[in-house]
Amino acid sequence: MHPLDPQRSRWLTAHVVPLEPELRRWLKHYAGLSSWDIDDLIQETYAVLATRESVDDIRNPRTYIYQIAKSLVLQGLRRSKVVRIEAVSDIEKFDVQSETLSPERHAMGRDELKRVADAIRAMPPQTRRAFTLRRVEGLSQREIAAAMGLAESTVEKHIARAIQQLMKQFGRGGKSARTASMSEHAADLQEDPAPNVDERDRRGH
């Protein structure tokens, strides 16, 4: 399956995109991954789902998506030279169902809409205009170029920027934004011999 297959994209839109913030929180708090490892793992999870032959047989997408993420975490741990026994057992003990109990699940629809709104607010005016014309009004990129008096290649760049902004917004695990300066700081960190639960970093092995 090609990653641009529209039907598969619709499935990912319906089942994975809404779950992503919650999945990221889980990867941070229960699997103890660093923020960059989480970004890698999210990409890998999408890759597994995008290249799967069919998704029709997935009866419970939520459980299945967690299973994939979990097995990717375990693979990563097995590949790394130092295996954190406590991390593995944490994951094995963790029951995906219990996460479903959290009340935040109910607020998810609103949270998703808020993420889209935040992404739109963060767009420069021209980009936001192009975004609105494309996604809300349904004009083609060519029609947008005509309507805004821009070159088609410029519209393309605005659309790319809009997509990037949306991806960033959905890449933020918790309610509070992960700022650029924080992730830069994390990038400078060396492996901590006695990491605390939230800042375990497997990178560099």
């Binding site: 990912l12 419970n60 809409l113 889209v116 005016p125 996604r135 009004e137 997509i163 991806m167």
Partner: protein, 325 residues
């Protein structure tokens, strides 16, 4: 270990490819894309994610104009010029209304939907009107005509057949006339009026146009963007395939919103959408209060989420999903 490309760099490239794909890839670009994808599994995932998130952003339509058009300062001069034009069109509209349907203003019932809320409203003649989020309409039924005025937002109409009483939707200075059909009309601030027909056909005319002028016919599976009167040349409707129509109207199935309704009531809202009916086998369970926003087209996902939250059990049958405790 060799230097690994960062997830962020991959995301950026994936966003560029998703934008190219959104306008259509050339053969040469396809080859280049496949080469890029072959380099790292994470790129495949990033691209799939980029496109899924891009599709997801269609929901932005539920946000309302204050988010979408936040660059008001820049747009203000344009808006005020348009407001003046609409003003004169509205005057023509009110004159026409007085002649044609004198009771219009007396009987108009306002109906609105809130931000993020989709409302499905059954009208007295059996027609059904679906209001997208943040939409305002007024409904006026008389013995001669059924008339809905779409003040702002978007609505989908499934019109009950009644030759004696034509069904009109007024949007700005446009009048969309239907007999028995299904279509949507959209009035978003700063954008042309969009009319999209999914069944039957409608005719579109302007209140200000000369009586002799022929109305514009829009048939099933066509849509048309209608610019403001000052730019009016009869536009050509654009044809869509079924998938595109379905997607254009997918807001209707977008989300169901509940604020403390009982599970019994909530389940009956789902009944209008899904093929799988939810049946509550426990009367006490049916009294539980539900708050939240749910995908209207996924009753099973809803039932599962509810079951876990309320400590109930789900049993999926052939066409029914049973909830019990």
């Amino acid at each position: 270990m060799s230097m690994k490309e960062t997830a962020e760099a991959i995301d950026q490239e994936a966003a560029n490819w998703a934008a190219l794909s959104d306008r259509g890839l050339s053969d040469e670009e396809r080859v280049r894309l496949d080469q890029w994808l072959a380099g790292d599994m994470r790129r495949i995932g990033a691209l799939a994610r980029a496109q899924a998130i891009w599709f997801h952003a269609e929901r932005a339509g539920a946000l309302g104009s204050e988010v979408l058009e936040a660059d008001r300062a820049r747009r203000l001069p344009v808006l005020s010029r348009r407001a003046a034009l609409i003003g004169s069109a509205a005057l023509a509209a009110s004159l026409a209304a007085v002649v044609l349907i004198p009771r219009l203003t007396r009987d108009a019932t306002p109906m609105t939907s809130a931000l993020g809320e989709i409302r499905r409203i059954s009208l007295e003649d059996g027609s059904v009107m679906t209001l997208d989020a943040d939409t305002r309409v007024t409904v006026a039924y008389t013995a001669q005509a059924r008339r809905v005025t779409l003040l702002s937002g978007q609505a989908y109409f499934e019109v009950a057949h009644d030759k004696a009483r034509p069904f009109y939707v007024n949007a700005r200075d446009l009048v969309v006339r239907a007999v028995g059909t299904a279509f949507s009309v959209r009035v978003f601030d700063g954008l042309p009026v969009l009319v999209l027909v999914s069944e039957g056909k409608v005719s579109v005319s302007r209140l200000s146009q000369p009586r002799a002028a022929a109305p514009l016919l829009v048939e099933s599976n066509y849509s048309v963007n209608l610019l403001d009167a000052d730019k009016w040349t009869p536009p050509t409707p654009v044809r869509h395939d079924e998938d595109e129509i379905g997607r254009a109207l997918s807001w209707r199935e977008g989300m169901l919103s509940f604020e403390g309704e009982t599970l019994g009531e909530v389940v009956s809202r789902f009944d209008r959408y899904g093929r799988n009916r939810i049946v509550i086998d426990d009367p006490k369970l049916a009294e539980e209060r539900i708050t939240g926003l749910f995908a209207a087209n996924d009753p099973k996902g809803f039932a599962t989420a509810i079951a876990v939250s309320l400590g109930a059990q789900v049993r999926a049958g052939q066409d029914e999903i049973h909830l019990s405790r």
